[in-house]
Amino acid sequence: MPLLGSAIAGAAIITPVLIVIWRSFTTGRLGFNVGLNIANYARVFGDKDIISMLGNSVVYAGGSALLGTGVGAMLAWIVARTNTPGKTLVELLPLYPILMPPIMKNIAWILLLAPRSGILNGMMQQFFGIETPIFNAFSMTGMIWVFGLACVPLGYLFLLPVFLSFDPSLEESAYIAGSKPVNTMLKITFPLALPAFLSAFVLNFLRGLRSFETPVLQGTPANIKVFVSRVYDSMALEFNTGLATAYSVVLVALSVITLYFYVRATRFSERYATITGKGYRVKVIDIGPWKYLTFFMVFIYFLAGIAIPFIVLIVVSMIPYFDYDTFMKFPTNAVLTNYYTVMRHPSFVTGFYNSLILSVTIALVTVMAGIVMAFTIYRTRASGTRIFEFIGTLPLAFPPLVLSVGLVIIFLGTPLYNSLWALGIGLFVAYFPYAFRNASGSIVNIHKELDEAAWVHGARWRHVFFKITLPILKPSVGGALFYIFIEAIRNVDVAVLLTAPGKEYGPVTLFEYFRVGQWAEAAAGGVVYLIVLIAAVSVAKFAFKMKFSL
C-alpha cells in the first residue's frame, strides 16, 4: 500500500519532467510528431541575446544573493553576538518580511521606484527639485534591490544558528594567543561562518535563477531578459512550446549546476561543523555606543523589508487612482472604492476562493504524500524504493515555471486542461520536495527501534504508520503543512500558465491587474491577501502553539 501511494506520487512528478525534456527536442505543433531534432536548441543558442541573457541571469541572481545573504549575515551577527538593545524585538524583526508575498513586494517597490510615476522620484522632484528620476525600478539595480531584500531572511536563518552555537573557546584561544577582538572576529569568527554563508548564498542564487515575478514585472519593461522571463514569453506570448522547453532545459541545466554547488557547500560546512549540539553560552560582545547604530540597522531592514512596502500598498489601495499627486493627498482623499471594485470582480473572487481551497488541499495532500513516500523508503522492506529518493527531490532542480510548462503540454487537449486539477497537480509537484524532505528528515530521526518494538508486539505496517509514525511526526507535519499553505497561497510562477477564465488563481489575478495597469486594484487585492496571511499565521501560532523556523 505505501508503495502504491509512492508510485502514484512519483509518476505525477516524473511525467512533467520527462515531457519538458522530450518536447525540447521536437518542433511542430503539439499532437503532430515530426521526429526528434535540435531545431529548438539551434534557435536558443542562435539567439543573439543568449550571451546577454546568461549574463543577466547570473548578475541578477548573484547580485541579489550577495546583497541578501550579506545583509542577512550581518543581521545574524548583530542579533547573536552584540549587546544591541531590544533583543527579543531585534531577533524577530528580520523575519517579518517573510510574511509578504513576493508579488506584493514587487508591486510596492515599483510604486515607490518607478522612473516617472514612482513616489520616491516624485518626492525628489518636489522637495529637492531634482528633475531627472534618480530611482528606476525597471533596471538591474532595481531588480537586485527588490529580490535581494527578499533573500535576507534566508541568509539570516542560515547564519543565526552558526553565530549562536559558536564554541566560545575557539575565540578564547585566539585571545590567549594574543589576538585582539577585531582581529579575532576577522580571522576566526567570520571564516568559521563562511561555509554557512556559502550555503545560503548558493541557495539564494538558485532562488534568483528560478524567480519569476521580479524578472517579468521589473525586467521585461526595461528589456532585461533572463531565462525565466524568456520561457514565460515564448509560452504566454508566442505559445511556442518547443522553444519554451528548450529555454527551460538550459535553465534547468543552470539550476542543476547550482544545486551541485549547493550540495558541495553544504558538505563543506558539515566539515567545519561548529554546531555540535552542545549548548554553549554565547559570548555577547559589548560594542559600546555602536549598539544604537546596530539597532538602527536592524530597524532599517525591517522598514525596507516590510513596513514601507506595506504602508505604500495600504495607501495606494485607498486612493481613487495611482499617481504621485493623488498619493501625496492621502489621507484626505481616502476611499474604499478599490476594495469594493476588487471584491466585486469575478476574477478576483473566484481566484481568491480557488487559492484558499487549493492551498489548503494541496498542503494536506502534499504533506501526506511526502510522509508516505519517506515511510516507503525508510521504513518498509520493499526493494528498489531508493529511486523515490531521487524522484522526490527532482522538482527542486526544475524552476516552477518550467514544471508548469510541462504540465500545460501534458494536459493540452485533455479535459484536465484549464481545470483546477491541473493547477492542483502543478502545485503538488512544485512543493512535493519540501514535504518529502521534511518528512524524510523527521522519519530518519525517529529511532528505528520504535517501529521494531511495535512489530514484535504485534503491529502491522498500517498500525506502525498510523499509531507510531504519524503521531510522532505531528509537530513537523504541522510546520510543513503551514509552510506549504503559505507558499501555495501566494504562488504565481506555477499557476501563471495553468489558469483560465473562470479558473483563476488569486495571486495570478493580482499579477494580471498589475500588468494591465490597474495598480490601485492590485494593491487592494494584495492587502486582502496580507490580511488573510497574517490571520493564518496568528491562528497557527496561537491555536496550534506552532513554533516557526522556516
Binding site: 520504535l450 512489530w455 504485534g458
Partner: protein, 367 residues
Amino acid sequence: MSILNVAGVSKFYKDVKALDNVSFEFNKGIISFLGPSGCGKTTLLRSIAGLEIPDSGSISIADKVQTSIADGILVPPYSREIGFVFQNYALWPHMTVFNNVAFGLKLRKKPNDEIKRKVISALELVGLQGREERFPSQLSGGQQQRVALARSLALEPRLILLDEPLSNLDAKLREEMRVELKKLIRQVGISALYVTHDQEEAFTISDAVVVMEGGKILQYGAPDEIYNRPAHPFVASFVGHSTLVDGRIVRVEGENCLVNVPDFNGANLISLAPQSAAAGVACKVVIRTTEVKLSHDGFPDGADNVLEGMMTSREYRGGLTDHRIQIGSKELVVTSHKFCPMIRVNGDGGKTFVSIDRAAISVILAQ
C-alpha cells in the same frame, strides 16, 4: 520440546559475515549471548525476532518453524508472539506508560477490562504501579527500562528477547537491575534470551552462556563450565581475567599433562590434561590471574609450578591488587586480595616467586 531451535543460520552484510552457520538449541530458563560488539549476537537476536532475514538456515520457536530460508517460510515479527526489550528501550514517546504497555493487547483486540487488568499487573510486577499516566520522558532511565520490560511481559510471551537491556544504565543500577531481572523472569516462568557484552552480567543472570565471536558460536555451556574450562583461547581471554601463553604438550601422565612454555624461559608446567591431549601437540595455556600464589621467599617443595620472575609494577584496584610479574619474555598478571603477604612489601621491583596451581591452568589444544 525446545523453546528455541536455531539451525545453520548465516547472514552477510555485503562482505562481512555477521552470522556464520550458527546452530544451537535451548530448552528452558535464561540463556545469555556473550561477545564483543560486532560478534553477531544482536543480529542473531534480531533474526530470531524476525527483524532480520538471514541468508540461510532455519529458526523455530516452541517447535514451530518461524524462519526457514530453504522452505521459504518467514513468519513476520508481529506474528511471532515473543517479547523484545530493546537496548534503547524504544518506548513510544507520544504514548503514556499505560498505552505503551497496552499497545500489543489493544492490537489483539482484548476487552478493555482485561487490558486494564493485565497492564496494571505487568506494571506492578516491575514496581511501577501508579505511574500509568506518565510519559516516558518523565521517567528515569531505570524506570523506562522497567516499562519496556512490562510492555513485553503484558503479552505473556513464551520467550522474551533482551538486547543489552542494561547497557544504558549506570554501574550501580545495572547491578541491581540484573538481579531483579533474573528474579522477575523466573517468577513469570518464561524463557529468556539475553544479549550482553558484559561477562559478569551474563554469568549472574543466566543458566547457560553462549560465547560468540566473528559470527560463530565458540562455546555453549553453564557459566562455571565456560569460566573454568574455556574451549577456545578467545573464550578464555574474553571471560574472566587471565594470561595466555603458547605452549606444547611434552607428555601426558594420567589425568595430568606437562606443557612446555618457551616464553617462561622454557619452563614445564603441570596442569590437568584436556581431552585428546597427546605429546607434541601445540596448545594455549590459560592462567587465571586470581588463582596464582605469590611469595618473596619461594615455596615449599611439592608446590605446583613454581616460577621465578621480577615484579615490574603493581596497581591497586581497591580491595584487589594487580601485580605484574615478568617471567622470561612474558608478563604474568596476578590479582591478589589484601591479605596477600606481597602487599606489605614496599616498592615495585624485586625478585618474586609464583606458584600456579594446576587447577588454575586451562590447556586449550590448537585446532
